[in-house]
């Protein structure tokens, strides 16, 4: 049973540097980039909206400016999300949207979770 679960959930290594290095400890290595809570929240929120501003996301995920920008940056580096900066009058405005690659990553992540649940479900 355990082997089956593990076999289905193989490494999904993101193209970004850094985050992907922590390999080896877990039998199941997911897409670490998306697995982290706040980043998963960002990607999920963007999956149901064409675009969201920095402030939208901050409010939705109830986090701080610093935290959000760090994690959004990581997703941006991996090209999971795209960021557009503009001005709304004098105020800077940052908008995010999910890229095709980001959507695929989320779909894969969801498939992984479902595979895990299915693999250990008593038959």
């Amino acid at each position: 049973m355990a082997d089956r679960a593990a076999a289905k959930v193989r490494v999904e290594r993101p193209k970004a540097k850094g985050e992907a290095q922590k390999s080896g400890q877990a039998a199941v290595r997911l897409d670490r980039l998306i697995h982290e809570r706040l980043r998963l929240g960002i990607v999920s929120a963007l999956a149901v909206n064409d675009r969201l501003t920095f402030n939208d996301l901050k409010r939705l995920l109830q986090t701080t400016d610093g935290n959000l920008s760090v994690h959004a940056r990581k997703l941006e580096d991996a090209s999971y999300i795209a960021c557009e900066k503009s001005f709304d009058g004098r105020l800077p405005r940052t908008e995010y949207r999910l890229t095709a690659g980001g959507r695929r990553a989320l779909e894969k992540y969801l498939a992984h979770m479902e595979a895990i649940i299915k693999a250990v479900k008593p038959s």
């Binding site: 049973m1 355990a2 679960a5 593990a6 959930v9 039998a27 199941v28 809570r37 998963l40 929240g41 999920s44 929120a45 963007l46 999956a47 149901v48 909206n49 064409d50 969201l52 501003t53 402030n55 939208d56 901050k58 409010r59 939705l60 995920l61 989320l106 969801l110 992984h112 979770m113 479902e114 895990i116 649940i117 693999a119 250990v120 479900k121």
Partner: protein, 196 residues
């Protein structure tokens, strides 16, 4: 050790899926529902109920409630814009659009039926139709908003059904109870629990 892992993984995976669903739901919901705006609309409706009279087929009665409807729209728009502004974010475009696409069709149907009812001497039956269709609008729009909105819609629909069952003389009280009472009651709950 090998025995334990699948269970942990399983719980963790289910928890992750729940988290994703919650994040999506919150991100997709229309949250600029005006609580204090609803209370204000309710108060104006009580005033109109008091002065509109009980001649449900008179021009005066119909005109009074149509003016109240226009006033309610204006109050709602101002209140929603202010609420969205206060929460530090603009009205999220996509959730607002989804809400509007579900909320407006029943109201449009109500406007057409109002003309039909009024032209055919069915003025005394307008309260029942208005309560039912306004409730329908809130219930369907509420699918894309916070939970209290569809509940409020169901309350309006229930009152509409009561209005259908009762003789037309009760119209005045039903209008006051629905557009006055329910707006004030739910408005206070929304203001208290959903940020203003």
């Amino acid at each position: 050790m090998v025995r334990e892992r699948p269970v942990l993984l399983h719980d963790h995976a289910a928890e992750n899926l729940r988290f994703i669903r919650d994040a999506m739901e919150r991100a997709a919901a229309f949250t600029a529902v005006p609580g204090w705006g609803g209370v204000t609309v309710g108060l104006t409706a009580l005033v109109v109920a008091a002065i509109a009279g009980t001649r449900y087929d008179s021009f005066r009665w119909l005109a009074a409630w149509l003016i109240e409807a226009a006033l309610a729209v204006a109050i709602a728009v101002v209140a929603m814009t202010r609420k969205a502004g206060r929460s530090g974010a603009p009205l999220l475009a996509a959730p607002t659009r989804r809400f509007a696409l579900a909320y407006l069709p029943p109201l449009a149907a109500g406007a057409v039926l109002t003309a039909l009812f009024a032209a055919n001497g069915l003025g005394p039956r307008l309260p029942a139709m208005w309560l039912l269709l306004y409730g329908t609008a809130l219930t369907s729009g509420g699918a894309f908003s916070v939970r209290i909105v569809p509940i409020m819609g169901a309350a309006f629909m229930a009152l509409g059904i009561v209005a259908v069952a009762l003789p037309p003389e009760y119209g005045e009280w039903l209008m006051a109870a629905g557009f006055g009472g329910l707006h004030i009651g739910f408005g206070l709950v929304i203001a208290r629990h959903y940020g203003g």
